[in-house]
Symmetry: C2
């Protein structure tokens, strides 16, 4: 297990060491998806108010197993208004970020030996999340360059053992937003196969980047298109709070088992020592559901990088959201390419662990000024391959 450390984390740690040598400002670290903009002022205000005014024993007390009722009710109300679906408090299970959400959702809808399908490219931590349940992750190969799900191959891979399908849109690492026609077709296939197997195949929809969608892009809400959906959300990106570990699972009204799934996740929690996200953060986020950090910087950064990469001849899909871009490496071996990039202090992550060898991920959640200063390094890197 120790040999399987996250390549993203390792690149990040390398960057820290390099920064100690040449200065933080000279390392162009595109490795880690850590938001670069501060929490919104509303979060600060909510925290200060809770600390000043809320009775501390009540504020910091144990949550019920299903989570803080104030947070759950607020999330349900917000989702219901936004997506026109009758979410209630009983559909919402607060979790320690998307990691906690995915782990609980997957454990709730699978049993050991079941199969979970996902589409490459995909977030590598899906491997551990699924393995932790005892289920088996099967990956539908990526379809460059658009990186929309390959639904023909997907339909052929579905079988009697498929318990759930795990999707992520807007997508890490490609930045691609799955289109409405794609998701409608996905839903149709799931309904058809669910009917054939006599039980629902669940859709587990990982949506930490829901709020980071660029101008003119239509980002559909998967649960609106398929009833048996567990939506996994995190406030890590929208409120710039990744370290505070706060998110939720929203069980779609009408989902098979909607009356027991939240209770099941509360019970699952006892077996992993999860026991709810922090109470003060739940309370603060409950007051900030309709705000976000100043996210426009990510679009600015995307445009700079997309323009430069295309200018330099990279094969690259224009992101519709997130803070990632996923160009093709300039040699077949993306790992070798990333090592070469390090010579110019560009820290990129090879696509191999995302199920897309030959591509590299850039996380452009860094200062725009630093993105600008990194552009000559990309020029030098491309020139090294042009020689």
């Amino acid at each position: 297990m120790l040999a399987q450390k996250s390549v993203i984390r390792e690149t990040f740690m390398f960057g820290r060491q390099r920064a100690a040598q040449i200065g933080y400002e000279n390392v162009f670290d595109y490795s880690l998806g850590n938001p670069s903009v501060p929490r919104p002022p509303q979060v600060t205000a909510a925290m200060l108010r809770l600390l000043a005014e809320q009775e501390p024993v009540e504020l910091h007390g144990y949550c019920p197993s299903q989570g803080d009722p104030v947070f759950r009710a607020a999330v349900a109300k917000s989702l219901a208004a936004r997506f026109q679906l009758p979410y209630t408090i009983d559909h919402i299970f607060p979790t320690t970020g998307a990691a906690g959400a995915l782990s609980h959702a997957l454990r709730a809808v699978t049993k050991p030996g079941d199969e979970v399908l996902t589409f490459a490219p995909y977030f590598p931590e899906y491997g551990p999340y699924v393995a932790g349940t005892g289920a088996v992750l099967r990956v539908v190969p990526a379809e460059p360059e658009a990186f929309q799900p390959d639904l023909e191959t997907f339909a052929a891979m579905l079988n009697e053992n498929t318990a759930a399908v795990l999707i992520n849109t807007p997508n890490n690492p490609s930045g691609v937003v799955y289109s409405t026609p794609t998701l409608r077709r996905l839903a149709d296939i799931l309904r058809e196969k669910s009917a054939a197997y006599g039980r629902p195949i669940y859709l587990v929809s990982d949506e930490p980047y829901r709020e980071i969608v660029f101008d003119g892009v239509d980002a559909p809400y998967p649960a609106a298109l398929y009833e048996h959906t567990l939506t996994c959300y995190s406030f890590s990106k929208s409120l710039s709070l990744p370290g505070e570990r706060i998110g939720y699972v929203a069980v779609r009204p009408g989902c098979e088992g909607e009356d027991v799934l939240v209770d099941m996740m509360a019970q699952i929690s006892r077996f992993t020592g999860h026991n709810c996200p922090p109470s003060i953060i739940q309370r603060a986020c409950a007051e900030c559901l309709e705000v976000t950090s100043e996210l426009s910087v990510y679009q600015t950064n995307m445009k700079l990088l997309y323009a430069k990469l295309t200018e330099l001849g990279f094969t690259v899909q224009k992101p519709g959201g997130t803070f990632y871009i996923f160009p093709k490496a300039l040699e077949a071996d993306a790992k070798a390419f990333c090592l070469k990039a390090r010579e110019y202090d560009l820290l990129l992550v090879p696509g191999d662990s995302f199920g897309a060898p030959g591509y590299v991920r850039l996380a452009y959640c860094i200062d725009t000024e630093k993105v600008r200063r990194s552009l000559p390094a990309f020029e030098k890197l491309a020139a090294a391959y042009a020689r």
Copy 2:
């Protein structure tokens, strides 16, 4: 799984409903171990300072997999000074409370099929924590009335499959502090059997009540007496922050595998979606390691209850710490006794799920004034059995 809900939580929920009927002040709820005193002012000050002065992107960023270095270093320094053991940052793994600590420690030192031994009476959540790892919990029967571990039976139950021993002192639910001679003898047995089996048997020591020890009681630190110890701590009780989910595992210097256990726990975390406790709470607690909430109320409450219970003829061991007391019920069936107690709006928890049928737990982390007002209800309850 849904049928195995915690009896503690169910009693607590009953209390909430009853409070809605007759008023919160009239329900004598001794069910839940939720601290009744506020967080210390130092925690508030630390939180306010972090929100005002700390760069937010850094403050709320993702922690390294092993946890926040500031918190880890501070905990190591504090433990080293207090217990004269050479803890370093590399021995400390921050967790979401004791639940997270125990889950990670047990997963790190067991494999599926292994046995974990504990001593009745014990915290019922040990069942799920151990079952979650795939190991099997075996319980050394309780020895009333002292409720010290029965080491003869324990030694006979140890076998080639025993991977770990799980203890909790000061003890929930008995309030008993395991004595130094008891722990020395326990350590001797473990050393002897470890030598016989050619591998160490780990001691997992659950210590959320370490700071709540009453006048004149000697509370030894188990890791000081046995080298292969993983100490599991929570700030839930000492700083009155149960909902904020903050604790740690401290791997004892000299423990077998001390160089890999924290890394192993960091990797285990990926498979359960744990991914570190909240970062702002880690930072705040790092500044408050040498303070506690005003804990003296628990001793005041204990003395009131112990005096009344003994006066009424209950068989009961005087607690050495915690905020629990564990008298013998006035009939053989503790569940029936607890239902009878509800007629007087006394909410007690039967000892059955703690592995000690016939006894009942009182969690006296409530206002002293309410403890006083509850004493006549105990008189009426005892009188009902005297008739």
